[in-house]
C-alpha cells in the first residue's frame, strides 16, 4: 500500500524529531540541593529507560516531604508502524432517530424492549442515564426518546438475579449495563457475572451490552457479552447498534424514504425538557 508514510515518529515541531512530553511523580524528596539534584537525575533515568533520549527535566516540584513531580520533554527512539495498528471499526451504520424507529417497526413489528441497569455495588447511574434518559447526552436524546424503543431503567445497584428476572418479565430484547466503578476491576467481574447468569438462565437470552469508561471494546468474548461501548458513546450509537443486531436489514426502497425528523413529543410540552434535567 502506497500513500502516506507507514513508519512515523512523534512530531514536536519538525518531521521526525520524535519529541514527546510526559509528567510523573517519584517518591523522592526535593528539599536540599543534593536531594534536588538526585531527584532530577532519577527523573532523567526513568525517562531514558522509557526511551526518551535525550530527555530534559523541564520542571520539578516537591510535593510534601516525600514526593517530587516532574515534567519531562525528550526524543523517543521508537518508531510507529501504522501497518501494525489494528482498529475496531464500527460494524454498523449510524442511523437517525427516524431510521431507527422505521427499522424497528418494519423489522420487529413491535417495540424493541431495552432493560438497563447499573449492577453490583455501582451506584453511578450517570452513564446508563445518559444513554437511556430522554435528556440524553452530547446533544443527542436518550433511548427513551425513540418511539419504538421501550426503556425499563432499573437504576443503580441492581442484583444480577433481579436483572435476569426482570429482563425475562419485560421480554427484553437487549440488556444494557453500565459500570463506572473500576476499583479492583469490579467492572470486569460484574460484567462476567451478569453474562454467566444470563447464559445459565436459558438459551434465549437477550442481547447483552455493557458500557463504561474503562472497558476495552475488544473484550466481548472474554466477558461473554455481545457488545462493549467505551467512553464517549452516544445514545444514537447504541440505538443504531441495537437495530443492527436485532432487526433484519431493510429493503433499499424503504430505507430511501428518508423521513422528516420526528416531532419532539417531550420538548413540545412546556417545561418537559428542563424537568428531564433534574433527574440527572
Amino acid at each position: 500500500m502506497t500513500g502516506p508514510a507507514q513508519i512515523v515518529r512523534p512530531y514536536g515541531d519538525t518531521t521526525g524529531d520524535g519529541r514527546v512530553q510526559l509528567s510523573f511523580t517519584l517518591p523522592v524528596p526535593f528539599g536540599t540541593p543534593a536531594e534536588r539534584a538526585r531527584a532530577e537525575g532519577a527523573a532523567a533515568q526513568l525517562a531514558a529507560k522509557m526511551g526518551l533520549e535525550p530527555a530534559m527535566v523541564v520542571h520539578a516540584k516537591g510535593m510534601g516531604p516525600d514526593f517530587t513531580f516532574f515534567i519531562v520533554y525528550g526524543r523517543v527512539a521508537h518508531l510507529v508502524d501504522l501497518s501494525e495498528v489494528t482498529v475496531a471499526e464500527r460494524e454498523f451504520p449510524l442511523l437517525s432517530a427516524a431510521e431507527v424507529n422505521l427499522r424497528i417497526r418494519a423489522g420487529l413489528g413491535r417495540k424493541l424492549v431495552v432493560v438497563g441497569a447499573c449492577i453490583g455495588t455501582d451506584a453511578h447511574t450517570v452513564g446508563i442515564d445518559a444513554i437511556l434518559n430522554v435528556k440524553g447526552h452530547a446533544g443527542e436524546k436518550g433511548l427513551e426518546y425513540y418511539r419504538e424503543i421501550r426503556v425499563v431503567n432499573l437504576g443503580s445497584q441492581v442484583e444480577v438475579p433481579d436483572l435476569v428476572e426482570r429482563a425475562r418479565a419485560e421480554g427484553a430484547d437487549a440488556v444494557l449495563v453500565s459500570q463506572v466503578v473500576t476499583q479492583r476491576d469490579a467492572h470486569i467481574s460484574n460484567a462476567r457475572e451478569m453474562a454467566g447468569a444470563f447464559a445459565a438462565a436459558g438459551p434465549d437470552r437477550p442481547l447483552l451490552v455493557v458500557g463504561g469508561p474503562r472497558f476495552d471494546p475488544a473484550m466481548t468474548a472474554a466477558l461473554g457479552v455481545d457488545k462493549i461501548f467505551g467512553k464517549g458513546t452516544t445514545p444514537r450509537e447504541v440505538a443504531s447498534y441495537l437495530v443492527h443486531a436485532l432487526t433484519p436489514p431493510l429493503p433499499d426502497a424503504a430505507a430511501a424514504g428518508d423521513q422528516d425528523g420526528l416531532p419532539e413529543p417531550a420538548a413540545g410540552e412546556p417545561g418537559a425538557a428542563s424537568h428531564a434535567g433534574a433527574s440527572a
Binding site: T121, A123, V181, S274, H275, A278, S279
Partner: protein, 544 residues
C-alpha cells in the same frame, strides 16, 4: 456558628419574586414535614440507640443496634419507638448496658413489652437520662470544635474542599494530612459506593472499599484525630466531611455528631432521585438527621450539583434553585441555622456554549444573593472534562475565578483528570496550585465586579429565578410526593411507595416515645461561649 457575612448585592432581583419563591417552597414542604413528624424509621430508632452509646457488632458484622431494633420490632413493633421497650427490658433484666441487652435479645432471650404505669415512667426516665448524656457528648464535641478553632484559626473563605477516596482509612489519613498541608481547608472522605444502600452502618476501621472508604464511627474518629494533629501543626482548623445520605442517614448523622465531623452531605431529594431510596423513608430520615446536625453545629452540604451532571446546566439551572429552596425550608424547619446550610451548585455549562462564563457568573451570583448567609458549596466542572487535561486545567481556573468573583463559600477543587482516574497525588497538587493562584491573583476582584443592571448577567439571573417560581408553583399544585412520583424531577419517576427502604417506615402510635427527638425538639439553651483553656485543648487532641 457564624452568622454569615454581608453579601454584596450585584443583581437587580425583585424582592417580591424572591419572597414568593420562599413561600412556595414552604408550602410544598409543609405536608412532608407533617408526614415526618408522625412517622419513624428503623434507622431513626437505631440512631436513638447509637446516641445512647450502643456500639459494636455481632460475629457477622451486623451492628448491635440493628439486632436490638429488629428484636424489639419483632416483639412489640416500633410504633411506640425502640426506647420504651428497650429500657424497660434493660431495667427488668438488670443488664449492665445496652450491649448486654442486645446480645441476649439477638439470642432470643429477652421478652420485650410496651410497659405501662410506673414501669413506663421508669423506662422513660432511664432512656431520657441516657439520651441526655449522649446528646451531651455531641454538645461537648461542638464546644471542642469551637475551642479548636479558637486555638488554631478559622481559614478565610472560600474554603478549599478536597476529596480523598482510597478505600483504606490508613491510606486516607496521610493523603488527607498532605492535602491539608498543601492548603485544603476541608477534607471529604468519599464513601464506598455501595454504602448508601446498606441498611446498617459497618463497624470498625476499614481498609477495603469501592471508590471510597466506608463511613464508620471508628473511621470518623481516626480521621478527625489525624486532622486535629495537622490543624495544630498548621495553626488552621481543617474540617472533616462525610456523607449522611442513604438508608442510614440518621445513624451516620449521629456518629458524625459524636465524632465531631464538621460537614455532612445531606440532601432532601438526592437519595430518592439518584439512589431510588423510598421518598417517605428519605424525608423522615432526613428530618431527624438534620436535627442532629443542627445540634452538632455541623454544616450540611446539599447535592444540587448532581442535577447538572447529566442535565443541561443552562436548561436545568432553575431546578437547582428550586431544590435549594426546598433544602433551605426543610433544613431550617429541622433547626439548622443559615450558617449551616451549605447549599450546592455547580459550574457545569458546556464551554462550547457562547457566553458560558457569563452564564456561570449569573447562576453563581443568583444563588449567592438568594442565600446570603449560607456557606454555599460550589462544585467544579465534571461533565465537560474531556480527557484533554490541559483544557480541563483551564476550565478549572475559570471555575475558581467564578467562585472568588461571586463570593462562594466552599470551593470543591476540580481535578484536571476528572473522569479519567481517581486523582494522582500530582493532580491534587496542581489543582491546589491553580486555586492558590486564582485566589492570590484575583481574590479581591469581587469588589469591582458589578454586572450592568439589565445587562446579560443581570437578566439571566432574573430569568432563572422566574423559571424557579414557575416550577415551584407546579410542585405546590401537585404535592411534592406526587411531583416526584410523576417524574417532575426528571424522567425518573419515584412513586411514594416505590424504592428501597419503605419496609423500614413506621407510623407512630399514640404514646410514641423518642427521647432523642424530645431533647432535640426542645428549644436549645444557648451554649456556653468557647473557653480555650489549655487543659481542654489537650483533652481534645488526646487519642484514646
Amino acid at each position: 456558628m457564624e452568622t454569615g457575612s454581608a453579601v454584596t448585592r450585584r443583581l437587580s432581583l425583585d424582592p417580591a419574586v424572591v419572597a414568593a419563591a420562599r413561600d412556595l417552597a414552604r408550602r410544598a414542604g409543609q405536608p412532608i414535614v407533617e408526614m415526618a413528624r408522625t412517622h419513624t424509621t428503623v434507622s431513626v430508632e437505631r440512631a436513638v440507640l447509637r446516641l445512647a452509646g450502643l456500639q459494636g457488632a455481632d460475629d457477622d458484622g451486623m451492628p448491635w443496634v440493628n439486632r436490638l431494633t429488629d428484636a424489639v420490632r419483632e416483639a412489640t413493633g416500633l410504633e411506640h419507638g425502640v426506647a420504651l421497650p428497650a429500657w424497660d427490658a434493660l431495667r427488668a433484666g438488670g443488664y449492665a448496658d445496652l450491649a448486654a441487652l442486645a446480645r441476649d435479645a439477638a439470642a432470643g432471650r429477652v421478652k420485650f413489652r410496651i410497659p405501662g404505669g410506673a414501669d413506663a415512667r421508669d423506662a422513660r426516665a432511664a432512656a431520657t437520662a441516657a439520651l441526655a448524656r449522649g446528646i451531651g457528648r455531641i454538645d461537648a464535641q461542638r464546644a471542642a470544635r469551637d475551642q479548636m478553632i479558637a486555638a488554631t484559626s478559622e481559614p478565610p473563605k472560600p474554603w478549599i474542599y478536597l476529596i480523598v477516596a482510597t478505600g483504606d482509612i490508613q491510606e486516607d489519613i496521610p493523603q488527607a494530612q498532605a492535602a491539608a498541608r498543601e492548603g485544603a481547608d476541608i477534607i471529604a472522605v468519599i464513601r464506598s459506593t455501595g454504602q448508601s444502600l446498606l441498611d446498617y452502618v459497618p463497624e470498625g476501621a476499614t481498609r477495603e472499599g469501592f471508590a471510597g472508604t466506608y463511613a464508620t464511627q471508628e473511621n470518623f474518629r481516626l480521621m478527625r484525630a489525624a486532622l486535629d494533629d495537622v490543624s495544630r501543626e498548621l495553626g488552621r482548623y481543617v474540617r472533616l466531611t462525610n456523607y449522611a445520605s442513604g438508608l442510614c442517614m440518621p445513624e451516620i448523622a449521629s456518629l458524625a455528631g459524636l465524632e465531631r465531623l464538621d460537614m455532612m452531605l445531606n440532601d432532601c431529594m438526592y437519595g430518592i432521585i439518584f439512589r431510588d431510596i423510598n421518598p417517605r423513608r428519605t424525608f423522615i430520615d432526613q428530618r431527624f438527621s438534620r436535627q442532629i446536625h443542627a445540634r452538632a453545629g455541623i454544616i450540611i452540604n446539599t447535592g444540587e450539583d448532581n442535577y447538572l451532571t447529566t442535565a443541561d446546566a443552562v436548561d436545568a439551572a432553575h431546578t437547582v434553585v428550586v431544590s435549594q429552596l426546598l433544602n433551605e425550608y426543610f433544613g431550617k424547619e429541622a433547626g439548622l441555622a443559615d450558617g449551616q446550610l451549605g447549599l450546592g451548585h455547580a459550574f457545569e455549562i458546556n464551554p462550547a456554549v457562547p457566553d458560558s462564563f457569563l452564564l456561570e457568573l449569573a447562576h453563581a451570583q443568583l444563588v449567592r444573593e438568594l442565600f446570603p448567609a449560607a456557606p454555599l458549596k460550589y462544585m467544579p466542572p465534571t461533565k465537560h472534562m474531556t480527557g484533554n487535561v490541559f483544557a480541563g486545567y483551564l476550565l478549572d481556573a475559570f471555575f475558581n475565578l467564578c467562585g472568588v468573583m461571586t463570593d462562594q463559600s466552599i470551593l470543591l477543587i476540580g481535578m484536571m483528570t476528572e473522569g479519567i482516574h481517581t486523582p494522582f497525588l500530582s493532580d491534587r497538587d496542581l489543582a491546589l496550585e491553580n486555586v492558590r493562584y486564582v485566589r492570590e491573583a484575583a481574590g479581591r476582584l469581587g469588589e469591582s465586579f458589578r454586572p450592568v443592571p439589565g445587562g446579560f448577567i443581570d437578566q439571566r439571573a432574573g430569568q432563572v429565578l422566574g423559571e424557579s417560581v414557575e416550577l415551584l408553583r407546579r410542585i405546590c399544585d401537585d404535592g411534592l410526593l406526587n411531583a416526584i412520583a410523576d417524574g417532575t424531577f426528571g424522567i425518573t419517576r419515584r412513586p411514594a411507595d416505590g424504592g428501597r427502604g419503605l419496609d423500614g417506615v413506621i407510623e407512630q402510635a399514640d404514646g410514641y416515645f423518642n427521647p432523642a427527638a424530645d431533647i432535640l425538639e426542645r428549644p436549645q439553651e444557648p451554649l456556653p461561649p468557647p473557653a480555650a483553656s489549655p487543659a481542654a485543648l489537650s483533652e481534645i487532641g488526646a487519642k484514646p
